[in-house]
Every structure is written in structure tokens, then in C-alpha cells.
């Protein structure tokens, strides 16, 4: 009987992959549970000898087995979504069983770690610097420089911390990697440990990822002999978005409130328990096995655009027809991603806005879709690529409501340590409400004669807009971390491009938002 390959990724399972697998097994087929190819609109995707069918339900199984199913997509590797990708970090996606050491070794697993041991820590750090790899968590700091700082800082104890607190909406690459290729992450951490002289590593995974936690906890004991004496432990988050911020994550690992720490000192100098610590995102660490392979650094550094080197696993999400994981070299335009690869909206309606980089990323207007996927290009456009998530919205979206949600989210998830974020986000929601209500007049207690200092005149809509822009400026420059500092990106970009959704005349809001951006 032919072998049927079906993903056991959380997304495939949420779409019904377990029932499909059970039906194949019931009919006598040999079922292999593999990682996901990342073509999410086709999940559950069934593969038999390279040919694919999707999205499959248990009712389609009989037709697939007798060759009459009309959900065939022909050869998966040749599918237009797959054919143009450059999969380095996700090279094994769809091809291997996540917890099979044999599959891992057969696809080049452990080779980079062996080579790293042979060439020594200093050369490893040099190669990571040469690859040009920048931290994939969002800040884009050169990974090799961070490693060199930790390596050069004396310390009896050093740590490798993997930031797997992937809280941004529209991102799922960390989850897919941990579930689909956990040994690659473990190998990357072991390489990091070797490079900086760390003895212990932690993977901080969010509690919302039960499948990833289960896979990692199964994979670590299997891989332990290969990475010894380095040890890795999984720690599970407790529902705080802010713990994706590296210093907050370190506090959480130490058993404290996940409050942000002021920098300096950098975690590379005084991180976990005050020891020199590498804090890297899942994708940064998982890129290491490719970079440290023979000639890998040169190949990786040869790809990309301007100062953004290598590939980025881009996540196509939200209202998009062909959502999923698309790994490609930097430089691809948003138009290609959304309209070309992504096939436009799932609803079939026109695209209104695209949010790149999660809840703290700017909303980009279709007029800006020629922007190249590159850290500096996005920064220049008052936007960020963050963790590479792209969330598409159709023309029914109320962008004023999305701006309000950005402030509301910041208020809900603020750690409370700094005032601009803690208070500013709450005030931001109120100001946006007043703009959308067309301004406000004094009411209630404010009008009482004994309230000598209260404002007796109303505030016009234009004055409220100025207030919001002032508030955003305070948050941008006064917040301790990216949560308060970047929340103005979605708010101001929505105000700039869609003033009509705030109840403003199309031109007025645009002019004012542009002034703010010029500061």
C-alpha cells in the first residue's frame, strides 16, 4: 500500500487532519504524519508519492484512493506557491516527520553542529557575522554581533534563551518551525551555545501553542545526547503578550512579573539571572544550521536586498486567498506578496489595507504596495517588517476601529512599568472614540461651578486629532519598549491613509498625520 503523508501541524489538525488520517488508516493505508508545507488554504493536504490533494475531508478519502478525487493539485513541489520559494530555514517543511531523528539526519541534520565543533567558537561567530543574519524577532539586530558580545563577556554561567513567545497576530512561523522541525531549533541553540560558551538553554514558548510545547518536550530528550553537555529546557508562558519583549521574557523566566527592564545593561552583558545571555528568536536560531553548513554563510549572505541579507519566512495571513508560509529572499514587493502569491483577498473583495509586522506594525495602503521587503525600506515608510507577518484586510474594514483596537490591545497588554504606554494607551482609546464622535463638549462634573480648573469649552474634532498625534509622539519617544513605542505605527498610519474612517474629511487627516511623521 502506498504511503500517505499528512501534516500533524496544529493548523492542519485544527482544519481536520486527524480525521482524514484516521480514515486513511481505517482503509488500510500507511499514514505518515509529517510537517506542513505551509500552503494553509489547502490544509489538510494529503500527499501520496509527491502528488497532492487539498483541502481534504474524511469524505474525500475513498475518491483519493481510487483516483477520482477532484481536489488534486498535481505535484506539490511544482505548485506555483512552492516553486518560487527559497526555503532555507524551512527546507524540511512538508518533507520530514518532526520527531524522527532518522529523517533529520538524512536531510543534513547535525552536520552544521559537527562542523561548528570542528571550526571552533571564534570562526562560528565570524561566519554568523559574515552571513549578515539579523534577528528575526523584529528588531533586526545583527545576530553575529550579539553572539560576539556574549562570547567576549566573561562569566562562569552563560545562557541561550530562545524567544518563542510569538504573540503577534498574523505570525505563525515560529510555531510551524517548532512543530515541524524541532531538531533544527535545538541544533541552532547548540551552535549558539558552542559559539558563546553557554551551558544551558531555555525555550520560552507561549501557552497558546500546546502542540509546539508537546513536540519540543518530546524532541529535547531525543536530541540530548547530540548536544551534550549543553542542556535545553522548555518554559511555558502564561498569557502575557509583553513577554515576547526580551527583557520582560527574562524576568518571566526568573519567576518574576514580566515587566520590561531598562537597557542598558544589555541582556548580552547581564541577562538571565544577571549572566551573559543570548536572546534570539526561533527563526534566528533555526537559520543557523544552514549558515554553519559548508559554504552556508556565503550563500545566505549572497541572498537578499541592501542590508537585509538572506531569506525571511513571510507569513501570509488574515483575509487572503492563499495564506501560509512563504520563505523568500528579502526584496520582494508587497504587491507580489498580496496580489501575486497570496492571490488577493479570501473574500474576493478589494484589498483595503495590509498590516505588516503584527499588532505594532503600520497599516499600509495599496498605494504603497511597491515597497520592497527590507528592514530599512519599511523604516523609511514609518512601518516595520517585525516578525514577517502580513495581515490582509478587505474593503469592509473600519480602519478607525482597527486604530482603536491597537490602543486597546496596548492597554490590555502593557506591563505597566512606563507611563507613556500604561496611561497613554488608555487615553488613546478615549481620544480615538472622541474623534470618531466628532469631538466632545464638557459634561457632568466638569460643568459644576466649583470645578474652577476644568475646561468649559468643547474640544473640536481637529483639536482631538492634534491631541492624538501629541499622545502618539509621547508614546513613541517616551516608552521603554516596542509595545508603547510602536503602537503609534498602526494608529497614525490608519489616521493618515483612511481619515474618513475616523469621521474626518479625506484631506484634513492626511495632512495632519503627515506633519506628525515629519517630526
Amino acid at each position: 500500500m502506498r504511503t500517505v503523508r499528512i501534516s500533524d501541524d496544529a493548523l492542519a489538525r485544527a482544519c481536520g487532519a486527524d480525521a482524514v488520517a484516521a480514515e486513511f488508516a481505517r482503509r488500510g493505508a500507511t499514514v505518515e504524519r509529517v510537517s506542513s508545507w505551509g500552503m494553509h488554504w489547502l490544509e489538510p493536504l494529503v500527499e501520496i508519492e509527491g502528488e497532492g490533494w487539498g483541502p481534504v475531508t474524511a469524505d474525500d478519502v475513498a475518491a483519493i484512493l481510487d483516483g477520482t478525487c477532484d481536489k488534486a493539485i498535481d505535484r506539490i513541489a511544482d505548485h506555483p506557491f512552492m516553486a518560487d520559494q527559497q526555503r532555507l530555514t524551512f527546507a524540511r517543511a512538508g518533507k520530514t516527520r518532526p520527531l524522527s531523528l532518522a529523517d533529520f539526519a538524512a536531510t543534513g541534520g547535525w552536520a552544521a553542529l559537527e562542523r561548528a565543533r570542528a571550526i571552533g567558537p571564534a570562526t562560528v561567530v565570524e561566519e554568523v557575522i559574515a552571513s549578515g543574519l539579523r534577528g528575526r524577532g523584529g528588531a533586526g539586530f545583527p545576530a553575529g554581533i550579539k553572539w560576539r558580545t556574549v562570547a567576549d563577556t566573561p562569566g562562569a554561567r552563560k545562557y541561550i534563551v530562545c524567544n518563542a513567545d510569538e504573540g503577534d497576530s498574523g505570525t505563525f512561523a515560529d510555531r510551524m518551525l517548532m512543530e515541524g522541525d524541532p531538531f533544527a531549533l535545538i541544533e541552532g541553540m547548540a551552535i549558539a551555545a558552542l559559539a558563546v560558551g553557554a551551558q544551558r538553554g531555555y525555550i520560552y514558548v507561549r501557552g497558546e501553542y500546546p502542540d509546539a510545547i508537546r513536540k519540543l518536550e518530546a524532541a529535547i530528550p531525543l536530541a540530548a545526547p547530540r548536544i551534550s553537555p549543553f542542556e535545553i529546557e522548555v518554559r511555558v508562558g502564561a498569557g502575557a503578550y509583553i513577554c515576547g519583549e526580551e527583557t520582560s521574557l527574562l524576568n518571566s523566566l526568573e519567576g518574576r512579573r514580566g515587566e520590561v527592564r531598562a537597557k542598558p545593561p544589555l541582556p548580552a552583558i547581564a541577562g538571565l539571572f544577571g549572566c551573559p545571555t543570548v536572546v534570539n528568536n526561533v527563526l534566528t536560531l533555526a537559520a543557523m544550521p544552514h549558515i554553519l553548513a559548508e559554504g552556508g554563510a556565503g550563500h545566505y549572505g549572497g541572498l537578499g536586498f541592501a542590508r537585509s541579507r538572506g531569506t525571511m519566512p513571510i507569513q501570509l495571513a488574515g483575509n487572503i486567498r492563499h495564506g501560509g508560509l512563504y520563505e523568500t529572499a528579502f526584496g520582494v514587493t508587497l504587491d507580489e506578496l498580496v496580489h501575486g502569491i497570496g492571490g488577493g483577498t479570501a473574500s474576493g473583495r478589494p484589498v483595503k489595507a495590509v498590516q505588516v509586522g503584527g499588532p505594532l506594525g503600520a497599516y499600509l495602503h495599496p498605494d504603497q504596495f511597491d515597497i520592497a521587503f527590507d528592514y530599512e525600506s519599511y523604516t523609511a515608510a514609518d512601518a516595520l517588517i517585525g516578525h514577517g507577518g502580513i495581515t490582509v484586510f478587505d474593503d469592509r474594514t473600519d480602519m478607525g476601529a482597527m486604530a482603536r483596537f491597537a490602543m486597546q490591545f496596548c492597554a490590555a497588554e502593557s506591563c505597566g512599568k512606563c507611563t507613556p504606554c500604561r496611561i497613554g494607551a488608555v487615553r488613546g482609546v478615549a481620544v480615538i472614540d472622541r474623534i470618531r464622535a466628532g469631538g466632545r463638549s464638557p459634561e457632568g462634573l466638569e460643568c459644576a461651578p466649583q470645578m474652577h480648573n476644568s475646561r468649559k469649552t468643547g474640544r473640536s474634532q481637529a483639536e482631538e486629532v492634534t491631541l492624538l498625534e501629541d499622545l502618539c509622539e509621547t508614546m513613541t519617544y517616551g516608552s521603554l519598549c516596542a509595545l508603547g513605542g510602536f503602537t503609534p505605527f498602526p494608529v497614525l498610519s490608519a489616521l493618515k491613509h483612511w481619515p474618513e474612517d475616523f469621521g474626518l474629511a479625506p484631506q484634513s487627516g492626511k495632512g495632519m498625520a503627515e506633519q506628525t511623521h515629519g517630526i
Binding site: 496544529a10 493548523l11 497576530s169 507569513q315 495571513a317 482597527m402
Partner: protein, 140 residues
């Protein structure tokens, strides 16, 4: 009975680096809450003040002070699920849940290309429409 369980959890984690969060997590899973009595016992075991433990418990969304015996359905209402129409499902979900089921908003289950999505226990559900979500809540 409950006391013995708490002792087991403490014994399992004492001596680990940064043991407080793993302990709180296990306590939350075992008892459905981190009660003031548990806080006191944990503080004693870790040589922390009760205030320190209480501060940590209060910080994280996943820890509750009191147990809610109702079945829980978590619905993702973050941007990607909003783009896929989750907000239109909320009133129907609340009607289906009534007082019997606890609906909890979460921000992102990592199924952003196939939302709206929900989680019951460790089981994830995607591509929900009004009918699918209603059935999920009624079966919870």
C-alpha cells in the same frame, strides 16, 4: 487531597532555576486557580514574600484567583481573525454560551491564515463560521 497535590507540585519544581512560573502553571492546571492559600504555601516553599507571589499571579492573564467551574472556550479576536470576520460571530457565540460556558478572548492562536479560530482544552478549531462556533460551544 488538594494539599497533597500542591506538595507534589512544589517538590517537583523546588531547586529549579526560576521555579515560580512552572509552579504557578501546574497549580493553575491542577486546581483551576491559584488561591490565596496556594500563594501562601508557594511563598513559604520558595522563601518569597506572599506579596511577591501575589504580584506575579496578578500579572499573568492565565492565572485566576478563583476557579471557574464552567467549560472554557477561547476565541481568538486578534487582527488576523478580525480580518476574517470573527467580530460578526461574537454575539451568536455569547447567545450559545449563555451562563453555562465561559467565553474567553485570546489574542492569537497562531492559526492566522485559517481563522476565525478557537481553542477548547488543547484542541484547536479553525475556519469557524457562526454555525461551527455555535456547535463547538454547545459541545464544550
Amino acid at each position: 487531597m488538594a494539599g497533597a497535590d500542591l506538595d507534589d507540585i512544589l517538590a517537583r519544581h523546588l531547586g529549579r532555576e526560576g521555579a515560580l512560573l512552572p509552579i504557578l502553571r501546574d497549580v493553575q492546571v491542577a486546581f483551576g486557580c491559584v488561591s490565596p492559600a496556594s500563594e501562601a504555601a508557594i511563598a513559604l516553599a520558595l522563601n518569597l514574600s506572599r506579596a511577591e507571589v501575589h504580584g506575579v499571579v496578578g500579572f499573568y492573564h492565565d492565572f485566576a484567583a478563583e476557579r471557574d467551574p464552567r467549560p472554557e472556550v477561547q476565541i481568538c479576536r486578534a487582527e488576523a481573525c478580525q480580518a476574517r470576520g470573527v467580530e460578526a460571530l461574537i454575539s451568536g457565540a455569547q447567545a450559545a454560551a449563555g451562563e453555562r460556558v465561559l467565553l474567553r478572548t485570546v489574542y492569537c492562536l497562531g492559526l492566522c491564515s485559517v481563522g476565525p479560530s478557537a481553542r477548547v482544552g488543547d484542541a484547536l478549531h479553525a475556519r469557524l463560521d457562526a454555525e461551527g462556533l455555535r456547535r463547538l460551544i454547545e459541545a464544550a
